[in-house]
Symmetry: C2
Subunit: 195 residues, 2 copies
Amino acid sequence: MALLQKSIEKREALLRATLSLVINGGIQGASMAKVAKIASVSPATIYLYFESKQDLVNQLYLNVKTAFANAAFENHTPEEGVYITFKKIWFAMAAYKLKYKEEASFLSQCDNSPMIDEATRQEGLRALDPLFDLWVMGQKQAILKDFSPYLLYAYGIYPMAFLMNMESRGINPLNDDVLEEAFQAAWDSISVSKS
Amino acid sequence: MALLQKSIEKREALLRATLSLVINGGIQGASMAKVAKIASVSPATIYLYFESKQDLVNQLYLNVKTAFANAAFENHTPEEGVYITFKKIWFAMAAYKLKYKEEASFLSQCDNSPMIDEATRQEGLRALDPLFDLWVMGQKQAILKDFSPYLLYAYGIYPMAFLMNMESRGINPLNDDVLEEAFQAAWDSISVSKS
DNA sequence: TAAAAAAGAATGAACGTTCATAAATTTAAC
DNA sequence: GTTAAATTTATGAACGTTCATTCTTTTTTA
């Protein structure tokens, strides 16, 4: 038990080391030697926990994506209606990204680069299933536009990544007012207009 | 003159080679040796045209970003009003991204990774100045929401990158109808609602 | 023939990964 | 309950390769 605990800690230290290196220098900035050094471990030890560098990065991706989804759906209560539920998810996602900036930056880096296996990417996407269910529910009730789930995601969620990037670089700081504006824009883009 | 022409061609061959390697394997997939081979040139020759690998990638970024902006503002006629002008820009951008998928994929890869110098990134952003002018114009006329330019960009333009990624992976094919829907979502998100 | 451009070979450093070995832990015997 | 064998876990050095870049030489151009 103590052993298992120790193993888990070492595994997580390796994942954390990889995360911090990737966000600062991309995947080519995260060499196995550097990862090992930061995690206070021999390079060879990494291979007791991960098959390869690719496996290490894939698992990091799944880890972070899952944590993100867990945060997003922490108080998931679809019975409260589409608008309230979406708003909760949206702000929970924003809160996660603001709290865990490194993780958020890593995820947005992964989404547009060939760094992650396509299979792993697909697996990660499944963590967002509750959101896709909500799309369907909203469309049945004629609250959400009759768009493909990806189009709804592109406008409902994806822009957050851009805002977080700008926030991280200090270009466009986020506060509660800006967040409210952003949410309003998201809702206006995906919801059926009331005119 | 013939020499200059030849030089320009060789330079462009190098940029093209880099582009195709980066989009398929990220920046670490684009080794100088591979770039040289694809451009039918010795590795040493690259250094007659570019200072370093970083310089090569930076210049590629500026090249592509400029071409993108040129396409976006090709028929730029702000005197036609905010809505028409934005719609023209939006569809011109979409057309460029659909026609030059490799370039579009490269740009979206650059935007979320530390692959490009911050200074170069800033320089590239300036190519989009006409769009930012349009934001101001729209806000003065109370047509566009009173958001920061980045927030307007996040919802007006940025989602396109996501849609193009999905299109490229064959996950969510784009046709004229989907494009119209996407534009509608963009406009609804950034424009003052008519209620 | 002088200068510029390009080539290929060579550079040391860094890469991901593996190897033989050493330390730590568990198991088994008494 | 102690000890010794067996097994697991971890190591640092070393592997062959590939990296970005440079050096020397050859080819092309003016």
